[in-house]
Amino acid sequence: VSKASNHVKEQLSAYIDDVLSDEERALVEKELASCATCRENADFMSGIINTAKSLPELDITEDFRVGLRERLEQEKTAKVPVRWSYWRYVSGFAAAAAVLVLSVITLNSLPEHLELTSETDPKQVTINRGLSTELRESGGIEPDSIASAAPTEEAHGIIYSAAGEKAEAAQNTSAPASLPEMATAPRNENNQKAEGQTAEKITATDDKTFTDIAEEPALETADEKGGVPMRTSLYDTNQQSSTDAAAADSETATPAAVPESMKASTGVGGSAHLARTNTQQAEAICYYFSPEALESARQLLVAYPEEDGGFIVPEESLPAIQESLEALPGYIRRTMPEQETISSEIKMMLCVE
């Protein structure tokens, strides 16, 4: 095979698409003129490309339109939050730890005067309102946009792991993020009392949520009287150590481990607050729990593509991000020593534009 033949072979595709520089194109043309094999090869490739362009196409049928319309109608009326599908697959231990840590975090962020009423979805009260307060205090986001924005179901699944990582990234870097304080907020007695309540509420109010977890031991029925349920043995036993672990982790975290480009920041001034992460990294996190979780999460991630393989969550989806703190792979990690080996890249999966 001649040198010319090899050169043409490598440049042929770009030559046919006319994306070569003038100089390169002239060189290829010169070589083509003097190499019959090259010309025949060029004709072969052009023939393939032309045939590709001529392949028969499908028409949109009425059945397709009707089927799509039905699916869109279903989608519009779907009430089941996407986000919970993730948890159906999480292993019992990880899930129990998630509930535990979730309770620590969300209750730490609760306003002291918060009341749970029977008309209000406890999950939204405990998590959303609490986090909204945090956000207001941190000044990261316009309070009104948080207060008025209903959680957008569609965003939950994807942000799931992102939000957890976001909180951690911000915490480790001391960046002025909107979410991090929950993790490090000082615990007080009120919070401790309410922790069991939050976890229990979630378990009890969303049957899609922790169905599997509910089958795990140690979750007792909450005593609703007075709004402060009894705490369960699971939480009693593990709570303190997990918090200590979180605190220790927080203290020993190395800010330098966070790539500059991935440091969290807030969308100050109401500009779009964009959470960006990387699909593969999110997958890696999910995979850490189980292949099924990976599959489930990947399903959700599929719909969020953005440039560079990441995805972008606009400001209006932030309430969903807040809710997704329930996922918190980062916090789960703190309660499970064996998970500390997870790589730093995965830890720092979140990038905010």
């Binding site: 072979k9 490598e10 042929l12 595709s13 770009a14 698409d17 994306v19 025949e40 090869n41 004709d43 072969f44 490739m45 023939g47 393939i48 490309i49 045939t51 590709a52 362009k53 001529s54 392949l55 028969p56 196409e57 499908l58 028409d59 949109i60 049928t61 059945d63 397709f64 339109r65 089927g67 799509l68 319309r69 699916r71 869109l72 109608e73 989608e75 519009k76 957008t152 569609e154 965003a155 779009a272 964009l274 990947r298 399903q299 599929v302 719909a303 969020y304 593509p305 953005e306 440039e307 560079d308 393989g309 990441g310 972008i312 969550v313 606009p314 209006e316 989806s317």
Partner: protein, 196 residues
């Protein structure tokens, strides 16, 4: 009839307006369906995947920031959905026999031996060349198939493809080149069909 801009339709879609959404996607349905068709090789899967694409887009349209064009976003979602379908494909493993090879750049690619157990594009009138090409396309790796379909069938520019795949144009150029070279290898025995 007043022409409604894509922006106006998008605004309605974000409110959950299905009629507006149908209007918005009208111009893209054929493109996305055929993209899925080329990626998956049969009408049934293609229609299912295309519907999946539009449902996902509808679900997440509130999150569409407009940083990229709507069309680019659709192709991105379609690309991911099709990869999902390919992963989950019920196609028997023995439909193709892959020989993994490494090219001069160290990239792995697969050469597949023909196996007619799985015949794509059934019940479609095609010339011999078209049929051979369809079968060869079906044997490309998803990465190569994506770029070939986007470039040679959908007719997108290198720049658009790079945006859809979230990669550099140079990577797209290289993948298209490799994909076409692999097609040439796969079609070598039918070479004369393509030499006009």
């Amino acid at each position: 009839v007043k022409t409604v801009s894509e922006q106006e339709l998008l605004a309605c879609c974000k409110e959950g307006d299905i009629d507006a959404f149908e209007q918005l996607i009208e111009a893209y349905q054929g493109k996305i369906l055929n993209y899925c068709y080329r990626m998956l090789g049969n009408r049934s899967d293609a229609e299912d995947a295309a519907q999946e694409v539009f449902v996902k887009v509808f679900r997440f349209i509130k999150s569409f920031s407009g940083q990229s064009s709507f069309s680019t976003w659709l192709y991105k979602v379609a690309s991911n959905v099709c990869l999902d379908f390919l992963r989950k494909s019920k196609r028997p493993d023995h439909a193709t026999v892959s020989l993994n090879q490494v090219n001069s750049e160290g990239e792995e690619f697969s050469l597949s031996l023909e196996d007619n157990t799985y015949a794509p594009y059934q019940n479609v009138q095609m010339t011999e060349a078209q049929r051979a090409l369809a079968a060869a396309l079906d044997k490309l790796s998803p990465e190569h198939k994506k770029v070939i379909v986007l470039r040679d069938i959908e007719g997108l520019s290198y720049e658009e493809i790079a945006r859809i795949l979230g990669t550099a144009e140079g990577t797209v150029k290289s993948r298209i080149n490799r994909g076409r070279q692999t097609l040439q290898k796969l079609l070598e025995k039918d070479r004369e069909l393509f030499l006009i």
